[in-house]
Symmetry: D2
Subunit: 337 residues, 4 copies
């Protein structure tokens, strides 16, 4: 950590900061410039107690030189984390396809969709039983009844199941049915939920918050890893910007950035990012080409009758064709689907 | 709700949309333009089931004409909601000052700060016992021990207490100690927490999320009101933008916009919005001048030793002087502190 | 255009709006809903003079139903615009690679870079002679001397030349040397410059502004087309968001959105979007997979000594390898480089 | 400037960076930490040639410790810049009111508005003769004919004149008529225009770009000051964010931030920031309370017939009342209007 002193900071102020740094267990290393003095704080500790210093007289700014996350960081673990679910590998050379409707609604439609995405090449089935909806008047999910339908779909198709949990009180229940727990974008900084999900021991699919920097996202992952559970799948799903042509703006650069900073696998949700099925094709290909470890795509047997997010769902036929085309893109970058 | 058809939509497609609208219980009212046809859907229902229509052939766009929130809306209730806490009135001509440290830490410092903000003119004491922190390695709050210190501070000073709740499982506990429950920015769309807080019957201070539009914020308020509890205090605390000179960008326009759209009182948190005590003075005055019904300001007896958000805390002396200056601004717009 | 009246708008107010619409040459078509009345304005004119109506008593909102750009719009021209520069085709099945240094600096380095990008497969050479720099103290370009070096590089390599123009007074000069005029992001709404560039008759590479919506970008293109010059290449180069891990956030969704709305070709600048050469590889592949008609990539023979934007430049060897890999991605989506 | 080396940077890499720093005329001052080494570059020069270092092996990041602007900086000039226009003082204790229509349109309406804003207390008249419009089909201004009307209004009322210049070729012409040249938000980084405006010797009203950080805005001011003209009035007019309730989001914090960083006066444009006359009242008061040195407000005698931005214009009666109320707010913070 480096402390930048204001121009005109007195010798006494500099000395007080040095003494403070030493009292916190660091070595102080000042550099006297022409206009400003900077003081390096050297030590084993990662996080210096910054308010103690920021407010001292003469201090202009503090520059951290270490990342605030450590367990999620490449510096700690050079090799990529690979998550194994029986014969499915997430984070390896294979690109995993997760598909299904936004919400589990009616049995008939759900099972039909499940069979079709399985046939098209998906390995994991998505479907929400607990839905975080912007409006209290919208369909909020079938809850445990929906979880049971997910269970049946797993037995019928052999697909693994990912489903969202939105309340600390439901983690145990959802973990009983799901192979992967999903933390939604709105709950990315619901720290209690992160801890509970981590403690469940299940793999966690962690969506990026709409206003979350990549650093904050990795800090959210750090909450989960700090429970001893490093089976985390990061999911880019678009950030909020001024552009209104798409629901959110997918941050495709997050893929190479995350791969540089962290050992955790990263997948992309093109359906929520754009909010329109028409753009899912182009974004899915872009994500694969940019190095994503997987995709989570909304597919609905009958989008016009979906109770949730119909406009962004692909029909199974379109999805089947897309997966075929994605195989060619994956092959072009020496990966496979 | 108005459905805009694509240029070149066929007569048959238009007819199908009309039939769909009618089957959903609306009257269909088409207008045939030179290039595009639009269809008005007239009825008593507020929310039309849009996916059912968006995905129909020939449909280009759907334009809602009613606000999605109804209980939080000025259209429903013309008069402002006034929240009464004994002799404190929130939402009336008086501007209420809430002050205190970010987190409850040590007894001595906390009680001393409480007495000073009371003397300066604050009516409500803030202090976090449960802290949502970006890093799992940061101080997370004293939990129930902190709540007990809030209780003592109330007895000693007569100040009312507002404190944050971050987990549905804690609502009952926090409601036992607090006069007002705070929902933080990161939990603005933690819908389960909104419902639990609403159900507690306590007034709720609802902070705006960093990436939340004003409409989404009012929808979050709608979740609370729909439990039968309309004692909601909206709190603008800055949104996330590209500017990095301040931690967030306070959206001062939100004050007149919210006052036009909703009957709920709105206050401002200049401390979290800027992240720097130096700017709290200017922003507090701006908020009062713009019509805010209150302010929530961080004050700490010893900011250099704060475990949380020290850099944005005012010392009690500075706070006392600020309140005096705010009284003049309030008076200039015919309100009082 | 649809006018939404406030709830409680009087019959008289509605009548006045209808009369106003008629006086402006439209037919008025009211729909009386339960709570609100909406009035359709039907006519041949595209842009209704909205302030005349917005400020009328009882008017709540106006909803346009036509795009504000017409010449740039797919509705007008279904087939894609293809720009032909001798044997180079932009907007067709082939994906064009533009490469070169940010700025033209020294002759030796520039010609060496030009030969190498040509050999690697680039068809067009980039290089700035007039540089819009954030700081007045940064290198501002070699101006006409730089243009002459571009001319020599063209003769030596046969590459076409694209270079930026930043002042209406320089358009004639730059057009004398360049095959394509570049309008930079900061000048996207420098409307006089757009007109001059259009009037030159040269193809124009129009970068998207950092804060420009896709609609505003297409409106900027409309300025150029309205001079009679439709040889426009749109260039996505990142928008400004809160994320700081990359210099800007590339809006990869802009590719399918623009292709749906407009007939103009669209290319991507991964170098300026990220500001870091490390991420250029992943973003270039993403852009091709998403359907971009070309790429403009910074390549510098000696990035450490670049006077401008060195950190984002690829070395020629890395660029050569990237082009090879891009060929495989292009092939996977049935296009070629 | 401080260079942060990657963890695992070799001794040799560190040595090479040190040698590079020395070859650029600085002293190198390394600090060897447990995990990372940082190197201070000490010297008189402000801007280190960063690409030369960023791309060196082993370098992770570079942290500047000096502001990139120097002439606009408080560090250079402690006292505030005061701009004197006969008896009008901008940047002193008085708050200056600029008012008038968005565009100069018809003589009758314009002169009538001018007289009314003068009577209400405005000191400077605004009115655009050259209009930068998003659409090529919108009214683009009366050009020199409009300038002549500004001249007449000045003679009739004694008000000073501020009007926008949008093309380097027009600076001389506009400077002949105007007392203050306005650079619009879209041209904030039109660096040639900044230089020409600076060279004219006239005071320059420099609007902040929609996507410009405060630092970039001050760098734009630096372009003007570096021509020897420091008569610059900064104008905050809203930045682009995700919020759509207002046209832009006014960054009210920019007032105290700019006052801390720079000696230049800062005013606020509440009309363009919100795009709606209804919110101008609250924002004007907020700006004054936050410490703005002035306001620029759109006033139109007949907003319904304005050719440009009618919806955000106040009628003269409303404006007159607002100025009266602003006097009370100014007085509350010990300033005057």
């Amino acid at each position: 950590m480096i402390i930048i002193m204001r121009p005109g900071a007195t010798k006494d102020q500099i000395k007080q900061v040095e003494e403070k740094i030493i009292s916190l267990g660091f070595k102080a290393h000042p550099i006297f410039g022409e206009i400003k003095t900077v003081i390096g704080a050297i030590g084993e500790k990662r996080l210096l107690d910054t308010p103690a210093i920021t407010n001292m007289p003469g201090v202009e700014d503090i520059v951290p030189i270490m990342k605030p996350y450590k367990l999620a960081c490449r510096e700690l673990q050079q090799t990529k984390t690979i998550i194994q679910l029986d014969d499915i590998t997430i984070g390896g050379p294979e690109i995993v396809i997760i598909a299904g409707p936004c919400a589990v609604e009616s049995e008939q439609v759900f099972y039909a969709t499940a069979h079709k995405v399985k046939k098209a090449g998906a390995k994991i089935l998505r479907g929400g039983a607990f839905k975080p909806r912007t409006s209290p008047y919208s369909f909020q999910g079938l809850e445990e009844e929906g979880l049971k339908m997910l269970e049946i779909a797993r037995q019928e198709t052999g697909l693994k199941i990912v489903t969202e949990v939105i309340d600390t009180r439901d983690v145990e229940l959802v973990a009983k049915y799901a192979d992967i727990l999903q933390i939604g974008a709105r709950n990315m900084q619901n720290f209690r939920l992160l801890r509970e999900a981590g403690t469940s021991g299940k793999p966690v699919l962690l969506k990026r918050g709409l206003a979350a920097t990549i650093e904050e996202w990795l800090m959210a992952a750090e909450y989960i890893i700090s429970t001893g559970n490093s089976k985390i799948i990061l999911c880019e799903r678009g950030i909020r910007t001024f552009e209104t042509a798409t629901r959110n703006t997918i941050d495709i650069s997050a893929i190479p950035v995350v791969k540089e900073l962290s050992h955790l696998p990263i997948i992309v949700d093109p359906s929520h990012a754009t909010g329109t099925w028409k753009y899912v094709d182009a974004l899915s290909k872009a994500a694969v080409a940019a190095g994503a470890d997987g995709l989570i795509i909304e597919v609905h047997n009958d989008p016009s009758h979906a109770l949730c997010d119909g406009p962004q769902s692909l029909r199974p036929e379109k999805f089947t064709q897309l997966v075929e085309e994605l195989k060619a893109v994956a092959s072009a970058i020496h990966r496979r689907i």
